[in-house]
Symmetry: C2
């Protein structure tokens, strides 16, 4: 793949991610993706012969990797898992508020929309969440925490839930409340 092709492909994925975060799978209409990315329809099906589902799947995976990397960076700058959780809540809260309550979790909306109807997309979402759970579990186990598996899933659920409530209320309050309380969990 030449450099030009790579650029076009990335512009498509950028636009898809952006639109997905705002309104999920159905919020990322191909017409919108094309308009936002400035690439013609034909290029889309050249780079993603599997059509919309393939492009969305790659976008979700990409969004998941980006968050994963950001969390790993935070993890190195912080003493324990409790402060990591708070730092993640702050980071995601900033991102959410700065985007006008549009950019929450890049996986959640697609997961809820498509988990029941599309096996491939359900698998992608499950895989991304699984990788995040793994990161948290390893970190907790390294801290010598017992029940690391249960706690990792609980922390992830808490963050995802807080993000959902924050979007629904268009307010940081749920994130702040959870941040205050998450310490007792660890």
């Amino acid at each position: 793949m030449g450099q030009k092709g790579e650029e076009t492909r990335n512009r498509l994925l950028d636009a898809t991610q952006e639109l997905i975060e705002g309104g999920g799978y159905s919020g990322a209409g191909l017409n919108q993706v094309i308009a936002a990315s400035g690439t013609p329809r034909g290029s889309l099906y050249f780079h993603f012969p599997g059509g919309k589902d393939q492009m969305v799947a790659e976008s979700v995976r990409r969004g998941g990797r980006e968050i994963g990397r950001a969390v790993e960076e935070l993890a190195e700058a912080v003493p324990d898992t409790a402060s990591l959780a708070v730092a993640v809540l702050t980071l995601l809260g900033d991102r959410l508020e700065a985007s006008g309550w549009r950019k929450g979790c890049p996986v959640a909306t697609v997961a809820l929309e498509m988990a029941a109807t599309s096996d491939p997309l359900q698998e992608v979402c499950s895989e991304v969440y699984g990788s995040w759970e793994g990161m948290l579990r390893d970190r907790l186990a390294a801290d010598g925490h017992p029940e690391a598996g249960d706690v990792a899933v609980t922390v992830l659920a808490l963050i995802e839930g807080a993000l959902l409530l924050a979007r629904a209320h268009r307010s940081r309050e749920p994130l702040d409340r959870v941040a205050r309380r998450i310490v007792t969990l660890l």
Copy 2:
């Protein structure tokens, strides 16, 4: 409104709720709603002159009330808030698994899809979540729990997050793990 009209209206709301739980706002196409409910298209616009958004809004509110009532019933049969939370997780887990991982939270998908684009629907979702938070807060305060506000939001976030992960993984595991850990929060 006569009895016949009431029935039609309820059949429409039933179908809308069912479809929304499976795939959110966009998963509830009007063609599917009228096919599932057996009512003609025109009746829909007679009972919901505001169109799809009005019908979805009422469905979400209705779904929220149903869950709210179920939780209130559980609350009477249980000693403290910790066991209430576990009971709710079990109830929702049963519902989710029995529906083939389709019926999770009747609000979450619409909230994530529409919170950024539709003010009226965002308000409805915020209102339903607010009422659930209120129920939990009152219950916690009655137990004499300090920080009832923060804890109520945290418990709700935890349940919503666990439900999201369970749908994404098509597995009860996240619900079970959270149920085991939620006690330490209370």
